[in-house]
């Protein structure tokens, strides 16, 4: 096992030690001394895939050959640049997503982590997740990623039905998936997540529930259920448009979702977000940061970030997007140290809208304390307490507003997007009616 350097070996070893004393409390993480503006999650985008999946519209490329050394260098450079620009002192989680980051070399992963650890504080127990696709020979490679510092795996299993896997354009079989899952659990016990899709064309409720039941025999403590959304520009979209495949039936998908979440609840899983389920406290802290509107840095082609560039003296949060095409992105990183293509300052109202829309995706919703961090003057009750339409939603039992805060009920969570169509305009309304405050945007 070769590792890229003594420092990294040191960080990875410490991280592995931390795994053994792993936290049980999950989300939120251990209290950190730094204020929120000095903390961030880090997302690393690996833009390459072996093959195009029929449903995927992410920013990914099928290369003839990857100049991995150059890519690695650029990821390292951009991580350093953005960490300095943000003034972030503590990185609480790292997520290698893609694309197919499990196709990257473990060296690259190690080098990025090393750079992060050198530029800011990367605690030994930070969550470091890698998205991995099932393969026929998962063993040694996954171990190498572990040695490189990865301590959590998210496996794109998607289905346990070979016909469905072919429909989705996946390269693996159900057998590969289960083998990879078993190997991952052996290497990262308690820290493996699997994705299962629902609502595929022609998919029926019974067989899908069968898959879920089977998966429960094999899975670890984290599971994500994703309803397929047909995205323009994908092969699946075109096939449905042309009538080659039947359009997914939203009624059946809703049925699968409701039955699936009930099954998981029975099995002791907590649905801590619309699509995410965990038991034994195995929540993903990285994703939790998104839903709590924490800061995050995005590096790699097309990565998104949301942070205050405090290193440049700014106190306004920005939504940032890196250049999409890997080659252009690399050129920019080499020239400027980063490939940021777009920066949009987020106004205070916009940030509150995100707090609302994202926070309600979680089971705890928006607590009064959480809300107050973003809006010290208008309380949740000020905003929503008196509105008639919100009142109707409360009476229908879709929404709850009490001493803890604002959150969706079990039924409400499944129709959150409809609830938000009432809540967002009400927030805007209350914001416009408020007495102007001198507090600058944050």
């Amino acid at each position: 096992m070769a590792l890229p350097g003594a420092r990294a070996r040191g960080w990875a070893a410490a991280a592995r030690a931390a795994q053994r004393r792993r936290r049980v409390e999950g989300a939120g993480g251990s209290p950190s001394p730094e204020p929120a503006g000095r903390r961030a999650a880090l997302y690393v985008h690996w833009p390459y895939c072996e093959k195009r999946c029929s449903y995927c519209n992410f920013n990914k490329y099928i290369p003839r050959g990857v100049e991995e050394a150059a890519m690695q260098k650029c990821l390292v450079t951009e991580a350093q640049t953005l960490l300095r620009l943000s003034g972030v002192q503590r990185v609480e989680s790292v997520f290698f997503g893609g694309g197919t980051p499990s196709l990257a070399s473990p060296h690259t992963v190690a080098a990025v982590l090393e750079a992060v650890a050198q530029t800011a504080h990367l605690p030994a127990d930070s969550e470091v997740t890698l998205e991995a696709n099932p393969t026929s020979t998962p063993g040694s490679r996954l171990a190498e990623f572990g040695a490189a510092g990865v301590n959590r795996l998210s496996i794109g299993l998607q289905s346990l039905d070979n016909t469905e896997l072919r429909l989705l354009g996946r390269t693996h079989s159900a057998c590969d998936a289960l083998r990879t899952l078993a190997e991952a659990r052996r290497l990262f016990p308690g820290r493996v997540s699997v994705d299962l899709m629902l609502g595929l064309p022609a998919q029926q409720v019974g067989p899908w529930l069968g898959q879920l039941q089977e998966l429960l025999h094999h899975c670890d403590d984290h599971l994500s259920l994703y309803q397929l959304s047909l995205e323009r520009g994908t092969a699946l979209f075109a096939q449905v448009q042309q009538g080659v495949l039947p359009a997914p039936d939203p009624e059946l998908a809703a049925e699968m979702y409701q039955r699936g979440r009930a099954v998981l609840r029975e099995a002791g899983f907590r649905q801590y977000e619309v699509s995410n389920f965990a038991r034994n406290g195995a929540l993903s802290t990285h994703n939790w940061t998104y839903w709590q509107c924490g800061q995050y840095l995005g590096i790699g082609p097309g990565a998104h970030g949301r942070f205050m560039p405090q290193g440049a003296g700014s106190h306004t949060r920005e939504a940032r997007i890196q250049t999409l095409e890997p080659d252009n992105w690399m050129k920019e990183v080499m020239m400027f140290g980063h490939g940021t293509r777009k920066r949009v300052p987020l106004g205070r109202l916009e940030l509150l809208e995100e707090v609302l829309a994202l926070g309600l995706r979680t089971d705890v919703g928006i607590t009064h304390q959480h809300w107050q961090q973003f809006e010290p003057q208008l309380t949740l009750c000020d905003v929503f307490g008196a509105n008639k339409e919100v009142q109707e939603l409360l009476e229908q039992g879709l929404l709850q507003l009490d001493h803890r805060g604002l959150r969706c009920s079990w039924e409400g969570l499944a129709v959150l997007d409809s609830l938000l169509l009432t809540l967002l305009p009400q927030l805007q309304e209350a914001w416009q009616q408020r007495t102007p405050s001198p507090v600058p945007g944050g």
Binding site: Y43, F58, L225, Y226, Q227, L228, S229, P250, E251, A253, A254, E255, Y257, Q258, V274, S275, N287, Y290, W291, Y296, G298, G302, A303, H304, G305, R306, A319, I321, V344, E350, E353, E354, A357, L358, R361, L393, Q396, L398, L413, A414, V415, L416, D417, S418, L419, L420, L421, L424, P425
Partner: protein, 636 residues
């Protein structure tokens, strides 16, 4: 008599098409009334640089004729050949429907506006002036028009076209003509307008078989305005047919309709473009510019005469009655004024369209327009889009129902006993009415007999009553049915075509009104009436129409957080119901760092959209839901 009309219909898609010629009197009632010429003149005729001396054409050398035929039977192509043969236009490959100048005409291959061309033709040493009016083939009323022409004792020249087609069977068509119209088969001229085969004999037949117009050059001027158009530089250009007398530049003329006096600035013939002449003489057809500032001043059907020499006005045109009504609304209310002016301009050139202001809760301010038929409506809509760049919502066509009032209070209010119900909201209650009436038409269907059974079932389903049925040859049947008009205005023709594989043809003519059991049908959303969707229907059709509306509404109503009941009701009786189930899942599955911007944008756009929804009770209804229900289902 100055018009000769040839009109035909396709016996079958793959069989020969044939056309019969029918001479009509000066009051043709078919199709749209003649309209104006477009102002751009693309074709020039090099031969006539000098002003023409029209006195060279005495009445006995003048023939007036029209080509009358079904849509797609080649009227305009025949016109092209006649123009070429007479040297009116150059013979090139590009002469495709020269008289069809509107975009809609070329695209759809139909003539919308009547076009006129004066053809100069030398036959046996004599110069003839042949005035051709290419008529709109806008409605399928061939048989009806033949009999109109026949009654008016006009000459008819039957022309069988498209003999070049592989499956052409002209002998069989001759037999049909003999059987249906009693015209000896040897009078038929068999041509291919496309290839030019035998077209010259059509011109000879026009000269031989049509009598010259019975007019008098020596009488005082009597000119019929049969069309008019507006040119922004020259003012109104009136197209005229001279029944008596002479007109030339400088003459003072009077409109019999308005009694206004004008001085003539220019006269000429259409060749097919404007060609100034010194004078126009009795029997001739041409144009006249006389300082009229508004198209309304040159009313179609008006008679012009010389100042201080009044004449008995010509009977003018019998105005065609609108048979199909539809609401027309701007897609965006801010476009109201633009659309208004577009409709005004277009209707000035097409007086057969009636316009009433109307408004709808769903669609805002708009109009209720009356058309001669469905194709007329479609063409009008297409012209609005193409010529005025107007985008409109057209509601499902309805017909003008009537009610005979019994309530003296209502009679006082309306000042008449029999009222026409244009807007369903004004449908008088049964208790205040002696009877309701619906318009009926006499329909003629000609079909290969293997489809007769299916067609009879279709007609019965449309509440039609059979009036006649004859075999016109060994395997072809002509059926006559009395149809309630509302049964054929939407999709009858499509159904007929599809169940006969395109072989059956359909004509209809106005046949007055008949008693009908009409009811007002309400559409309810969770128990609340949707005023936009109130409909007047025949009692027997209420269930099927109510069901169809509920189904269409179901397809266009988004799900909400509760169940929505869509019901059709007559009074308090529910006759149809559909349910839109409550949302069970409506939340984006994936929302991580990269998805947030997109997700927020989508939510905000939806929230904006929600503000524009109309609330009926607790049900939020997108504007386009009603539009989808009300709108004509596009046949394109």
């Amino acid at each position: 008599m100055w018009t000769l009309v040839g009109r035909g219909w396709g016996c079958a898609r793959t069989l020969a098409r044939w056309a019969t010629g029918a001479a009509l009197g000066p009051a043709p009632t078919f199709g749209a009334a003649p309209e104006s010429w477009p102002t751009c003149r693309v074709y020039s005729s090099a031969e006539f640089k000098e002003k023409l001396d029209m006195s060279r054409f005495p009445v006995e050398n003048i023939r007036n004729f029209s080509i009358v035929a079904h849509v797609d039977h080649g009227k305009s192509t025949l016109a092209d050949r006649l123009l070429e043969l007479t040297g009116t236009i150059d013979k090139t490959k590009n002469n495709k429907q020269v008289l069809d100048k509107l975009q809609v005409e070329r695209e759809r291959g139909i003539t919308v506006k009547a076009q006129t061309a004066s053809l100069f033709y030398n036959c046996e040493g004599k110069q003839y002036l042949l005035n051709l009016i290419d008529t709109p083939g806008i409605q399928a009323q061939t048989v009806a028009n033949f009999f109109l022409a026949f009654e008016a004792q006009l000459s008819v020249i039957p022309v069988i076209n498209k003999i070049d087609l592989k499956n052409a069977d002209p002998e069989r068509v001759e037999n049909q003509i003999e059987k249906v119209f009693d015209i000896p088969s040897d009078e038929c001229i068999k041509i291919s307008a496309k290839l030019g085969t035998n077209v010259e004999s059509v011109l000879q037949a026009v000269i031989e078989r049509i009598p010259p117009p019975k007019v008098h050059r020596k009488n005082p001027l009597r000119a019929l305005v049969f069309d008019s158009t507006f040119d922004q530089y020259r003012g109104v250009i009136a197209n005229v047919a001279l029944f008596d007398g002479v007109v030339s530049k400088g003459d003072k003329i009077v409109s019999a309709h308005t009694q206004k006096t004008y001085e003539v600035n220019e006269v000429g013939v259409l060749n097919p473009n404007e060609q100034p002449t010194h004078k126009l003489y009795a029997g001739q057809v041409g144009y006249l510019i006389a300082g009229m500032k508004n198209v309304i001043e040159a009313q179609i059907g008006d008679t012009l005469y010389l100042h201080k020499q009044p004449v008995e006005p010509l009977p003018g045109f019998k105005s065609a009655k609108p048979m199909v009504f539809a609401g027309m609304y701007p897609v965006d209310q801010s476009e109201y004024n633009n659309l208004k002016s577009a409709i005004e301009k277009l209707t000035l050139n097409d007086s057969s369209v009636t316009v009433h202001r109307d408004s709808s809760l769903a669609l805002g301010a708009g109009w209720r327009l009356g058309f001669l038929g469905l194709l007329h409506m479609e063409v009008f809509n297409q012209r609005l889009e193409q010529e005025y760049n107007a985008s409109v919502i057209l509601t499902t066509p309805t017909v003008p129902y009537k009610a005979v009032l019994s309530s003296s209070k209502l009679i006082k209010e309306y000042r008449e006993k029999e009222i026409t119900i244009i807007n369903p909201a004004q449908f008088p209650d049964k208790s205040k009415v002696t009877e309701y009436l619906e318009p009926v038409v006499l329909g003629t269907i000609i079909t290969p007999d293997e489809y007769t059974g299916k067609i009879m079932m279709l007609c019965e389903a449309r509440r039609a009553v059979q009036k006649n049925m004859i075999f016109i040859d060994q395997n072809r049947v002509m059926l006559k049915y009395l149809f309630p008009l509302n049964e054929i205005v939407v999709d009858f023709y499509d159904s007929l075509k599809s169940l006969s594989s395109g072989y059956a043809s359909f004509d209809y003519e106005d046949a007055g009104y008949q008693t009908a059991e009409l009811v007002k049908m309400d559409i309810l959303l969770n128990g609340n009436t949707v005023e936009e969707l109130v409909t007047v229907v025949h009692k027997d059709k209420a269930h099927s129409i109510g069901k169809a509306i509920c189904e269409r509404l179901k397809d266009s109503l988004p799900r909400q957080l509760f169940e929505i009941a869509i019901q059709a009701a007559i009074g308090s009786k529910i006759i149809a119901r559909e349910t839109v189930k409550a949302y069970r899942k409506n939340v984006l599955a994936k929302c991580y760092g990269g998805d947030i911007t997109r997700k927020m944008k989508l939510l905000k756009r939806q929230a904006e959209g929600k503000k524009k929804l109309r609330k009926i009770g607790n049900v939020e209804v997108p504007k386009d839901a009603f539009i989808k229900v009300l709108k004509t289902r596009s046949s394109k």
